[in-house]
């Protein structure tokens, strides 16, 4: 039996947060942190692998909202200010800890991280991070796929085909504009699958998507190769299945690799340990404590008495964990292959921001994994490659499920966030009504209708419901939904009363400048 195959899939996504109306905006840090700790480190590791001729392969989603932010000049300018502030904080910390050798290695790590980030962002890539990923896409190293335009949790909208189409079509149009190709794959936000999505995805000539093990095993009929091969919906859409063991090895907060005692502790941050007066010059809001990114302690264990972080020890553990991961997958493939008629496939989809931002050593682990896999018993493949190799798969229709707690929609529909849906469905219904009433508009009316469509799409973002449930930044998340639906409502009223506030519209277009190619007609009734 041939080797097993391993497909790593990373979903790089952040919700659209861009507030030019404020000189600085706290939640824009989510993007800056991910750039510094995930996206730029990932590009660096890809460069190192290329330089060493290591044949790495990866399927990568860059969500449309993230892509929009990566290409945005204002956010680029603000990112440089963020780097400057982080570098000043690093300098202050060097002074504060100058007599303490314990923390010098980790402090040097941060100083170097922000220096390198600046050099890569400004000089190496000329701020064109999307271009850097596109280069690897065109070279065949990574396979870029798309996702829902604003990362909507699509199972909620299966009864609104207009809304589902708006999410898919807007994403595809953005992908084509940015990368010059039609995407072959689609990342289901939150791995939220519902049988009612199959036709919509296939109708846009998307060839494949990825689902949870639960969705697949509860499919009709049961997939006879388990999760070790994709299934095919009756309409031909191929559905890859997440490998449960590989997921647990990395995702699990308690048992996963990131919980190892040697790794950097995510929670212990000087932003909450040092006096606020000392920190204030380096904070967005002078007296609001935040995670600064300067973390000096290791996970250690279930104790408050943390050990100092040792970067070298952590790097060794990352390499050991990469070896362990490959050995475990190879063992699993070895077992499965006894019952398979083709090499077992293990699909490992993760949020990209796990690597670097939360699991600081994640990029090192990933790099070690690619290096150690070379010549080993597992072939690393992209999902598209696998599909070209095995275009025929068992026909089965997977069941509704997601990767959220409980396996269904509990995260996006509970007492903390269920109020959204009354307003959201009304906005979608009214948007469809507008698209039907004004099917052939041009000029100012087309502009305002397009902005209405943007606002409805933004309001569908699943991150806001998730954040409301998590409790963190709850008020901010609620405000994002209210603003988008409120903006839409204002536009709707304007169109109904045939009055347009052009000044307000222009301001809104400049603020929510996402999806420049959006076409409001995507909300026309599906017949």
């Amino acid at each position: 039996m041939a080797n097993g195959q391993l497909a790593l899939v990373l979903n790089a996504h952040l919700p659209f947060v861009r507030h030019p109306e404020y000189p600085r905006f706290l939640e824009e840090r989510w993007f800056f942190e991910a750039l510094s700790e995930t996206y730029l480190p990932l590009l660096r590791l890809f460069r190192r692998l290329e330089a060493d001729s290591i044949p790495f392969k990866l399927t990568l989603t860059i969500s449309p909202t993230l892509a929009s932010m990566l290409g945005d000049k204002l956010l680029g300018d603000r990112y440089l200010l963020y780097l400057e502030m982080q570098s000043r904080l690093a300098a202050a910390e060097e002074q504060r800890l100058s007599g303490d050798p314990t923390f010098q290695p980790v402090l040097r790590l941060y100083s170097e991280l922000y220096r390198q980030d600046r050099e890569d962002f400004e000089t190496l890539y000329g701020r064109d991070i999307l271009g850097a990923f596109d280069y690897l896409y065109k070279k065949g190293r990574i396979e870029l796929i798309t996702s829902g335009a604003s990362h909507a949790f699509l199972p909620m909208f299966v009864d609104c085909p207009e809304a589902v189409s708006a999410q898919i079509e807007t994403a595809i149009v953005a992908h084509r504009r940015l990368f010059g190709k039609h995407p072959t794959g689609f990342w289901l936000p939150q791995l939220g699958w519902h049988p009612g999505l199959a036709d919509a995805l296939r109708s846009y000539n998307l060839l494949y998507t990825i689902i949870t093990t639960r969705s697949a095993l509860l499919g009709d009929p049961t997939p006879h190769r388990g999760s070790f091969a994709p299934v095919q919906c009756p309409n031909g859409l191929t559905v890859f299945i997440r490998d449960a063991e590989a997921t647990k090895a990395v995702w699990s907060e308690s048992e996963g690799y990131p919980a190892d005692s040697a790794y950097r502790d995510f929670y212990r941050d000087i932003g909450f340990d040092l006096p606020i007066d000392y920190l204030s010059p380096y904070l967005e809001e002078e007296h609001a404590r935040i995670f600064t990114g300067f973390k000096y302690w290791s996970v250690t264990g279930p104790t408050e008495a943390k050990s100092p972080y040792d970067p070298e020890r952590a790097a060794r553990r990352a390499r050991e964990h990469a070896a362990h991961f490959l050995a475990a997958r190879a063992a699993s493939a070895g077992l499965a292959s006894r019952w398979m008629d083709r090499p077992p496939l293990m699909v490992c989809p993760y949020d990209a921001e796990l690597f670097g931002h939360w699991w600081f050593e994640g990029p090192l682990w990933l790099e070690a994994l690619f290096r150690q896999a070379e010549g080993g018993p597992l072939d690393i493949v992209t999902l598209g490659e696998y599909l070209r190799q095995f275009p025929e798969n068992q026909v089965s229709m997977p069941e509704f499920s997601s990767w959220g707690d409980g396996g269904y929609a509990e995260v996006w529909l509970d007492g903390s966030n269920d109020w959204i849906y009354r307003h959201l469905f009304k906005a979608i219904e009214r948007m469809t009504e507008l698209a039907e009433r004004f099917p052939d508009e041009s000029g100012l009316r087309e502009r305002i209708l397009n902005q209405a469509a943007r606002e409805v799409i933004l309001a569908m973002c699943s991150d806001w419901a998730l954040i409301m449930r998590a409790g963190k930044a709850h008020a901010f998340a609620r405000r994002q939904v209210e603003d988008a639906i409120g903006n839409f409502g204002k536009i709707y009223d304007m169109l109904c009363s045939n009055t347009v506030g052009t000044e307000w519209l222009t301001r809104l277009e400049k603020r929510n400048n996402i999806f420049p190619d959006v076409n409001y007609r995507i909300f026309r009734k599906k017949r």
Binding site: L218, A288, H357, W358, G407
Partner: protein, 246 residues
């Protein structure tokens, strides 16, 4: 939300917050105790969510780590810029998981007036109509859930997974339980997810059974619906373990 932030709130705001969190505090409780109760509840909630599973969302939350926990201090029912209701008679339902659906509804002012006029204080109720068997409307099994005139949304416990159903917003003449129900609005038709395997006509052979086990089926608590299948998976991983008979 941390203790510093809680300390900065007035006692009234703290009590309102506690109420929103569903805490049942004795009247006249001193301020430090109110703060303590809220903090305890926040810690408990966080631990509950952490222990509820190791799914991706916990890690997903780490993306949004820029700021302190700031939730719960702004009341969500005071939503600026949003209409509180749309004054129409409607009902919509969403499936949350195999056991629960969520429905929200409204009755327009004119409909309410008509109800009040024609059928004095006619009670409202939700009728959950089971369409699984492909039945015609009147012949379908159903169950009713009384709701008050002020209710606008409910979570509804579903009797079984794999159920195709609709939720009707109904009323009937006050004081007459045998009176015919009048449907004010009908929801979209939904299906709750199945929780059993669908092995197909050939059942699950030995190879597939082993591959399903290796795929982690035992963690999913999935059951088969094929009672005659000799290789059915009846409970988590009991019959089929990796390596069985190897």
């Amino acid at each position: 939300m941390n203790s510093e932030k809680l300390e900065s709130l007035s006692l009234e705001a703290l009590c309102a917050l506690a109420e929103k969190m569903g805490l049942d505090l004795p009247a006249g409780l001193d301020r430090p105790f109110v703060v303590e109760e809220i903090l305890d509840a926040l810690v408990e909630d966080s631990e509950d969510r952490r222990s509820a599973g190791d799914e991706a969302v916990h890690v997903d939350e780490k993306k949004y780590s820029g700021s302190e926990l700031d939730g719960l201090d702004a009341p969500k029912d005071d939503v600026p810029g949003l209409e509180s209701r749309y004054n129409e008679t409607t009902i919509r339902a969403l499936v949350r998981d195999p056991s629960w659906a969520f429905a929200y509804w409204d009755v327009s002012d004119s409909e309410r007036a008509a109800l009040a006029g024609e059928e004095s204080a006619a009670p409202l109720f939700l009728r959950v109509v089971d369409l699984s068997s492909g039945c015609e409307d009147a012949a379908c099994e159903h169950f009713d859930i009384p709701v008050s005139a002020d209710d606008q949304q409910w979570y509804i416990n579903l009797p079984h997974g794999g159920m195709r159903f609709r939720i009707d917003l109904c009323t009937r003449k006050a004081g007459n339980h045998s009176a015919r129900a009048r449907t004010l609005a009908r929801s979209n038709i939904l299906s709750s997810p199945r929780q059993e395997l669908h092995p197909g006509p050939g059942g699950i052979d030995q190879s597939s059974a082993r591959l399903l086990n290796l795929s982690g089926i035992s963690d999913l608590r999935i059951q088969t619906i094929e009672p005659d299948n000799p290789l059915r998976i009846t409970s988590p991983g009991v019959e089929l373990q990796p390596g069985d008979g190897d």
